[in-house]
Symmetry: C2
Subunit: 146 residues, 2 copies
DNA sequence: TCTAATGTCTCTAGTAACTATAGCTTCAAG
DNA sequence: CTTGAAGCTATAGTTACTAGAGACATTAGA
């Protein structure tokens, strides 16, 4: 049995994050010791490692919630799990496209600046006027920039 | 003079967002009409367009706050502005690197799944075990995934 | 065994950048 | 003059945590 600190160290997750996952129902309520401290077994460690890895791959907690409940039904077909992964891939690809455009614009504006006064700064000028940009990099609302 | 709705439409920013920017001091307090409604002139439109464009390029509001105060001092040297843009470029490049790794892993896991039961699903299996991954894509804490 | 340091407990609030809701007032068109 | 759209304030919700306060539990050393 692991204390919450050991569990966190094993899975690479901070202690308050574990408590948070329990609070939102992503982890089941833990057993408690006589002194009311949480105790975890191997299954909890695996579940937490799954969550951590999926977070590292950019899945949202909502997607992870679905993936976990799928993985609790081993005899079901896996189409739903694959669909979640494919959606995540699409999301990543769209962020990648946007970030690539941003990188290009940022490079362009930095290169163009000759480094004089603000009044002549190409960075400031381009920030004030998208028509000076080479690409249409604008942000569709509800889309995460990052 | 523009009403808040016209201003938002002109700059491509939602009305509540404009009020939010005013609240956090990114936009100055607007003039008011006799009926207490906000009124904006050309300068406010330019400032809001600047903010919008910088947001579209992924700058944080804090960075934008600094860029705006720099652009209010046209005779200063522009090194500080350029530094902010360069920092943003580095940020974008690091996100790009991470997302590229994520894309690779997601493609790998999707391709490997034969589409059977959850128990045999490669997606679920790999999510549970990072050692099955080809790259080290792990998320340094405090770093934005997106 | 006592004690000091570390770990854990609960609860609350804060982060970024908005978005949504409620309940009200003002404005513009017909 | 009336109605519907637009505007006002204030509050709360979003995501995925992180930080803090103040109290209790556990462990290691002297
Ligand atoms: Zn410059
Ligand atoms: Zn642009
Ligand atoms: Zn599968
Ligand atoms: Zn991995």
């Amino acid at each position: 049995m692991l204390t919450i600190g050991k569990l966190g160290a094993s899975a690479g997750v901070k202690v308050p994050t574990i408590r948070y996952y329990e609070q939102i129902g992503l982890l089941p309520e833990a057993e408690r010791s006589s002194g009311n401290q949480r105790l975890y077994g191997q299954k909890a460690l695996e579940r937490l490692a799954f969550i951590r890895h999926a977070r590292d791959l950019g899945f949202t907690l909502e997607a992870i919630r679905d993936l976990l409940s799928l993985s609790d039904n081993p005899d079901q077909p896996c189409a739903a799990a694959d669909a979640i992964a494919k959606a995540q891939l699409l999301e990543v690809e769209s962020r990648l496209a946007r970030l690539t455009a941003l990188k290009g614009e940022l490079e362009r504006m930095i290169v163009q600046c000759a480094g004089g006064r603000i009044a002549d700064c190409r960075v400031i000028e381009i920030l004030g006027d998208h028509s000076l940009c080479a690409t249409d990099h604008r942000h569709p609302r509800g889309d995460e920039t990052s």
